[in-house]
């Protein structure tokens, strides 16, 4: 166990310089609800911890004039759930965020942390992916923006290069006729890790036909999945029984889960289809009631 340097820079450039210049293992601290547990359990032994919360951009939340949102990577779930704008526009995104842990955890847990911790079961990620969110990354070579689904590459592993960190997220404006939902299955009502999670975002035209859709599954593969065949199954339909059956089958086909104490391969695979159907129905109901 080495001694740990702690820095709380006020600018993105300073944070990048610290992370890029670190000898050994550097870690970014946002809400800390995973980082501190891993530190305590000696799962990680960093030489440097960079607290990014003194950087205004990581803690800001902005609804832009075009209806889109810019959300700081360290903005906490409890802060988001208290807002009327995003809870109305993107209830599914907030549902995923809001499911992470207890009131106390929600007071700190952030989208950036949940994403970059890279757990396949991260509750906020499927809804972020379905909503088409992108991550603004800063690094030694400057800034780049990539889809949220391109960050995690395996359990605990991200595509971020040395010196890079997620500063903020872009959430598109809710489209006309748009609705989203996130559902997860756990054996109780609160405070557990997803057996399966599913995020669905879709757009309905005036006739109730699905014109676009994105479906994402969590906890059934090494990373959160984008299930293109599931979206194809419902685009052009009115979510009739046949379309729902195809959606279910596409999600079951995409699921490549493991068996563990939370559920078997067979159970997780079946549930992936069930949750997708239910989430699609909720998303469509929300789209209609917009």
């Amino acid at each position: 166990m080495q001694s740990v340097q702690f820095e709380a820079p006020k600018t993105v450039d300073e944070a990048v310089a610290l992370l890029a210049g670190a000898k050994g293992n550097a870690r970014v601290l946002a809400g800390g609800t995973d980082l501190l547990v891993q530190l305590r359990a000696h799962i990680i032994d960093p030489s440097l911890i960079v607290d990014i919360k003194k950087i205004d951009e990581t803690r800001s939340f902005k609804k832009n004039r075009d209806g889109s949102y810019t959300i700081g990577a360290a903005y906490a779930g409890a802060e988001a759930t208290e807002r009327d704008d995003i809870t109305k526009d993107w209830p599914g995104v907030v549902e995923g965020w809001d499911l992470i842990g207890s009131t106390q955890i929600q007071g700190r847990a952030s989208l950036g942390g949940n994403l970059c911790n890279a757990s396949p079961a991260a509750d906020s990620v499927p809804a972020m992916v379905a909503a088409g969110m992108t991550a603004n990354i800063a690094g030694p070579k400057g800034r780049r923006t990539i889809p949220v689904e391109d960050i995690a590459v395996g359990p605990g592993k991200t595509s971020l290069a040395k010196g890079e960190f997620v500063v903020s997220f872009n959430l598109p404006a809710r489209p006309k006729g748009g609705g989203d939902a996130y559902l997860r299955l756990i054996p109780r009502t609160e405070m557990d890790i997803a057996v399966v999670g599913c995020g669905v975002a879709l757009v309905l035209d005036a006739n109730g036909t699905v014109t676009s859709a994105k479906v994402s599954l969590g906890a059934v593969a090494p990373t959160v999945l984008v299930v293109k065949d599931a979206a194809k199954a419902i685009i052009g339909t009115k979510l009739d029984d046949a379309a729902m059956a195809k959606l279910d089958a596409a999600c079951q086909a995409a699921a490549k889960p493991i068996s563990d104490k939370r559920g078997t391969v067979e159970y997780r695979t079946k549930i992936a289809g069930v949750l997708a159907r239910r989430a699609a129905k909720i998303a469509a109901d929300r789209a209609r009631s917009q």
Binding site: S3, A8, D51, I105, G107, R108, E190, M191
Partner: protein, 159 residues
């Protein structure tokens, strides 16, 4: 490595402390500032016995580094009573026997106070969900929930 010099407002009083990077806010409160009301149950954010508020936000102090707290306002169980006068939640918990061994009680009280500051008329379901991160092995929760509901009613009546 040099320790971090951190200035905070603790229960309304300007306070300074020194800590190493690995020390959590809970470690600082208990070991450096001798405020042992906040308890360490799990040290992983599951049990809520270390609940405090930081800038008005309910958190587990075991999941906050002391070094992050520069400039923050921290409220702990020690700041709950007004001198000898107990907070209504504390008084009701005693009257309703909403505790047995007492280890979880400071965290439960801090969390319940935070709830009532946001919502002075919570439903039983809202109280149960808000306190889902405060584990109690003794009471079975019913007495805790009843005490919080009763206090909320009394505080509304008295306002």
């Amino acid at each position: 490595m040099a320790k971090h010099h951190v200035s905070v407002t603790l229960n309304g009083e300007p306070t300074e402390f020194l800590c190493s990077t690995r020390q959590t806010l809970l470690d600082v409160l208990r070991d450096e500032l001798n405020l042992t009301g906040s308890k360490e149950g799990c040290a992983s954010g599951d049990c809520g016995a270390c609940s405090v508020t930081v800038d008005g936000r309910l958190v587990c102090s075991c999941l906050v580094l002391g070094a992050e707290c520069e400039g923050k306002s921290i409220e702990t169980i020690e700041g709950m009573a007004d001198g000898e006068k107990l907070h209504p939640l504390q008084q009701t918990f005693l009257e309703e026997a909403a505790l047995q061994c007492g280890i979880c009680t400071p965290g439960v009280l801090v969390a319940a106070k935070s709830l009532l500051e946001r919502n002075n008329n919570p439903t039983e379901t809202e109280v149960r969900y808000w306190l889902a991160g405060n584990l109690c092995r003794c009471t079975g929760y019913d007495k805790i929930i009843r005490a919080v509901m009763k206090t909320a009613a009394e505080m509304r009546g008295g306002a």
